[in-house]
Symmetry: none
Subunit: 226 residues, 2 copies
């Protein structure tokens, strides 16, 4: 889950952002001045920062510089002033985007998504560790506890990937078949049994008694971590 730090002294805007961001599954941190903003930044390491340039206690540029001194998290600047010199300055000292007030909430959210997308692949939890084996989603690799890599066929990998992306949750047979084989194969539950057995043979310590690739009879499968 992506976490966002909002630094702004307008409590109305802060509330609006908190509501909108929370509703979209962001974790939201807030601060109403530069000093506490930097403190929260240092303590919680949010993935993205939204900062107003018109803060009561510090120059907004100093806030940006203070963050950029040690973090590369995307910074989106909000400002009531739209003059070019200030935009250029803010961008040049490390801001990633600059939005002039008043702005539409949808635009800000879209710019936030764009920033998230850029950092996405790196911080999006590419590694899933379930105890007896480890799945690296970014590099498409699986290794047993102990480091020994496991060779998976493309279909095996796709199946495991879908399960890993829903780690802990139940995934219905229909959902799995649709994602791996396509919408036309929704009823070929046979395929699932065959490939699930192969995955268990390759990954489970005791394939007959799976500890992680669990069957939910009549429903589907679940990837369980310790």
């Amino acid at each position: 889950m992506t976490s966002v730090l909002v630094i702004d002294d307008e409590t109305a805007l802060l509330r609006a952002l908190r509501i909108n961001l929370s509703a979209r599954d962001y974790t939201v941190h807030t601060a109403t001045d530069g000093v506490s903003g930097l403190a929260v930044m240092a303590r919680d390491h949010p993935d993205i920062v939204i900062v107003d340039l018109g803060l009561p206690d510090m120059d907004g540029a100093d806030v940006i510089a203070g963050i950029r001194g040690w973090s590369t998290a995307p910074i989106i600047v909000l400002s009531a002033r739209g003059d070019e010199a200030q935009k250029v300055h803010a961008l040049d000292i490390g801001a990633d985007d600059y939005v002039t007030k008043p702005f539409g909430m949808n635009e800000l959210l879209a710019r936030l998504r764009a920033a998230t997308r850029r950092i996405g692949p790196t911080t999006d939890e590419p590694v899933v560790d379930v105890g007896d084996f480890v799945i690296d989603l970014a590099s498409k690799r699986v290794a047993l506890r102990g480091g020994e890599p496991v060779r998976l066929t493309p279909t095996e990998w796709q199946l495991l990937e879908v399960l890993a992306r829903h780690r802990g949750r139940l995934v219905t047979s229909r959902q799995l078949l649709q994602q791996v084989w396509g919408p036309a194969y929704e009823s070929e539950t046979h395929y699932l049994r065959v490939y699930m057995a192969q995955l268990r043979r390759k990954l489970e310590p005791d394939p007959a008694r799976p500890r992680h690739l669990l069957t939910e009879p009549g429903m589907g499968y679940r990837l369980q971590d310790d």
Copy 2:
């Protein structure tokens, strides 16, 4: 040196940008419509793209999508229309920034610098050492362990470069073909086999048993370091 592709049908703006960007040591490519823009993109692989949404031949959104299909280069959108829905749509299909005309040249340049700065760290890993050979991305050279340089043809180099930029991660056949030969060659997997064999002959200690240029059957290839 950073190269920029500008796609816009206003020749006056095109000229102004060419002058300003050249003066700041960017390499400038230009195109006046979507089709030729995508062609230049595929041929020259510029680092950053600036694209006007109001092109004569194509919907700007299709241009963005056409680029995002195979490239992660930053895209800055220019548009005469500033309505929020269009901004949101452009950003969501892959644009990195959205600037409304008329805009100040200094602001655009600052946003360009911000985009450049972002791609810097990722592509700025000049040397990749995999054990038996060393790839210098900046100077486009390869040398065996021991220092003996290896001559690669342009295509061989491009292929190796894509793999090196994803060092350790799996790169799908489609991705490789798109980046090296262009989006139209997605299914010519034959090329890959031929050139991968040539790379192995030139770089691997035992070409028949590759240790670094690995095949992942059915999925793609991976550059593995020791």
